[in-house]
C-alpha cells in the first residue's frame, strides 16, 4: 500500500512540474539534493547487496563479483 501511495505521489508531483529557470536552482543544485548516492555510501551499498537477496535500482551494482565471504 505504501509503495502505491509513493508511486501516485511521485507521478502527480511530476505531472504538476513548475518551470524552474537556471537562476532559480540554487537549492536544487545543492550537492546534498543530488539524486545519486554519495561517494561515502559506496561500500555501505556493497555490503547491503552482499548480505541481502536483492540489489539494483539504487545506483549500485546489479551483478559482477562475489562478496562470497
Amino acid at each position: 500500500m505504501l509503495r502505491y501511495g509513493f508511486l501516485l505521489f511521485t507521478v502527480f508531483s511530476m505531472a504538476s512540474c513548475a518551470h524552474v529557470k537556471e537562476y532559480q536552482k540554487s537549492r536544487i543544485n545543492d550537492s546534498e539534493m543530488s539524486l545519486s548516492n554519495r561517494h561515502v555510501e559506496k561500500n555501505e551499498l556493497n555490503a547491503e547487496s552482499y548480505r541481502e537477496g536483492s540489489s539494483g535500482a539504487n545506483g549500485g551494482k546489479t551483478g559482477g563479483g562475489c562478496g562470497c565471504n
Partner: protein, 434 residues
C-alpha cells in the same frame, strides 16, 4: 572642471569597456581544452560483522561467530574533464579499489577449519562520457574488472545514453554486462576429479582445493593414491556466470525545492549462480553443495524524492520494490535528513528499513530433503528484516580544509542489524580533492 573630469572618467570607462569587449570576444572564441584533472575522490571504509549462520557451514548454529567478517575497503576515483572542437564535454573517470577482508567461515572450506581466513579483492574501473550540453545529450562507455579471493574474476562492460528535455527532465538508458568466472573450490570433503588431465587411462588426478586458494594435485591409480602430481600444474576448474542489465531512469525537477527520479533495472543472470563452497545439510545429516537454478530474472524499481525544507533542512527519501524469479520479494525504504549547521557543514542522520521474503530454494540447517532439486542454506536468501541507522558529517568550506585542494570531507557511520542475528558496523570516510 567638473564636466571635464566627468568627460575624462566617461572616456576612460568607454575605453575600459571597449577593451573588455575585445578581451571578451577573444575569450569566447572557442578553443578545445585537453583533458585536465578535475577531481579526486578517496573513499575508505571499515566493516565489522558478527553472525553465527554461515553459508559455508550450511546455516549451522553451533559454531558461534562462524560468520564474523571484517572488511577494509579503499578506493580512489580520478576524474578528468575536457572539451573537444564541437564544444562537447568529455569526462574520463578512472577508479581503483583494493579490499582486504577476514572471514571466519572461509577457514571452514577445509572441514577442519584451518584454512586461510583472509583475502583481497582488486577492482579497477574506467568510464568515458561525452556530453553535448547544448543538445542536452550524453553518451558513455566503460569497463570494470575485479579479481577476488576464491572467485577468479569478473569483467564488466557498460554503455549509456541520456537526454535532457526543456522541462528540466532527464531520461537515461544504460546497459551493463558482467562476465564472471567462478573458481570451483569445493569444501574439502568433496574432491573434484579432473578427468581431462588423466595422464594414463587408469590414472586420475584429484585436485584438493581450499579456502586459501591453494590447490594440490594427487594422482590416483585404480582408486589408490600413488603420489603427488609433480608433472601437472594444478588448476582449479572454473564455471561462468553472466549478468545482463538494462537500466531505465527518469529524473525531474518538480519545483525550486523538489526533485525526484524513477529507476528500473531489468536483470538477467545465467550460469553457475550458487557457490561451490556453500554447504547444505539434508535432514538426514548428510551434507552436499548448494544447488541453484542456472537462470535468474530480477526486477528492482526505485523512487527518489528530495525536498529542500526551509533554508537548512533537506529530506532525501528513497523507496525500492524488488521481485525476482526465485520468489524473493523485498521492500526498501530509506530516509536521510541533512541539516545544514552552516552553509558548509551539515549533519545527516539516516534510517533504512529493509524486508525480504525467502527465495523458494532456501531452508535452514538440516531441513532440505534429498528429493529436492534446488537447495541452499545461505541466509542472504532467507526471510528477514533489517535496519540500518546512523549519521554522516559533511564539511565543504569554499576555501578548502587545511589546504585549498581538499574541498570536501564526508564521514559516515552506520549500525546494521538483521533478524537473522547478523549485526554489523560500518564507518566510511570520503575525501574530495579538486
Amino acid at each position: 572642471m567638473k564636466k571635464l573630469s566627468l568627460s575624462v572618467i566617461g572616456m576612460y570607462l568607454m575605453m575600459a569597456h571597449a577593451f573588455s569587449q575585445t578581451n571578451a570576444t577573444d575569450s569566447t572564441g572557442y578553443k578545445p581544452k585537453k583533458l585536465k584533472l578535475d577531481e579526486i575522490n578517496l573513499v575508505t571504509s571499515y566493516y565489522d560483522q558478527t553472525a553465527d549462520k554461515s553459508a559455508v557451514m550450511g546455516g549451522r548454529t553451533d559454531y558461534k561467530g562462524i560468520a564474523d567478517v571484517t572488511d577494509f575497503a579503499n578506493g580512489i576515483d580520478v576524474t578528468f574533464i575536457g572539451w573537444d572542437k564541437k564544444q562537447r564535454k568529455n569526462t574520463l573517470a578512472l577508479g581503483l579499489g583494493v579490499d582486504y577482508h577476514t572471514a571466519a567461515s572461509q577457514a571452514y572450506v577445509d572441514s577442519n577449519g584451518t584454512a586461510k581466513n583472509n583475502g583481497t579483492r582488486i577492482y579497477p574501473t574506467i568510464n568515458w562520457t561525452r556530453e553535448n550540453e547544448q543538445k542536452g545529450t550524453s553518451f558513455g562507455i566503460g569497463a570494470y574488472y575485479s579479481a577476488e579471493h576464491n572467485y577468479y574474476h569478473s569483467i564488466g562492460l557498460n554503455g549509456s545514453v541520456s537526454k535532457k528535455n526543456k522541462s528540466n527532465g532527464e531520461f537515461s538508458f544504460k546497459v551493463v554486462g558482467f562476465f564472471d568466472k567462478i573458481n570451483m573450490i569445493y569444501p574439502s570433503e568433496f574432491y573434484p576429479v579432473d578427468s581431462v588431465k588423466n595422464s594414463q587411462s587408469s590414472d586420475s588426478i584429484v585436485y584438493r582445493t581450499s579456502a586459501s586458494g591453494q590447490t594440490q594435485a594427487f594422482v590416483y591409480n585404480n582408486g589408490q593414491l600413488v603420489g603427488n602430481s609433480k608433472n601437472h600444474k594444478p588448476e582449479t576448474p572454473t564455471k561462468p556466470r553472466n549478468t545482463y542489465t538494462a537500466s531505465l531512469a527518469f529524473s525531474q525537477i518538480i519545483n525550486q525545492r523538489l526533485q525526484g527520479s524513477v529507476e528500473m533495472d531489468l536483470v538477467y543472470q545465467t550460469g553457475y549462480l550458487g557457490l561451490p563452497f556453500h554447504r547444505v545439510y539434508y535432514n538426514t545429516g548428510k551434507d552436499t553443495i548448494e544447488n541453484l537454478p542456472s537462470q535468474r530474472f530480477k526486477l528492482p524499481i526505485g523512487f527518489r524524492l528530495n525536498y529542500f525544507l526551509g533554508d537548512k533542512i533537506i529530506i532525501r527519501s528513497y523507496y525500492r520494490f524488488y521481485a525476482d524469479s526465485w520468489g524473493l520479494v523485498s521492500n526498501t525504504a530509506n530516509l536521510e535528513v541533512p541539516v545544514k549547521i552552516t552553509p558548509f557543514f551539515s549533519i545527516s542522520p539516516f534510517y533504512r528499513f529493509y524486508m525480504q521474503t525467502a527465495a523458494r530454494y532456501f531452508a535452514p540447517y538440516a531441513v532440505h530433503t534429498e528429493q529436492e532439486q534446488y537447495f541452499t542454506s545461505n541466509y542472504a536468501l532467507a526471510a528477514f528484516n533489517s535496519n540500518l541507522f546512523g549519521a554522516g558529517l559533511r564539511l565543504a568550506p569554499p576555501r578548502g580544509i587545511f589546504t585549498n585542494s581538499l574541498r570536501v570531507l564526508e564521514l559516515r557511520y552506520g549500525h546494521y542489524t538483521q533478524t537473522t542475528d547478523l549485526n554489523a558496523n560500518i564507518i566510511s570516510l570520503n575525501l574530495t580533492f579538486k
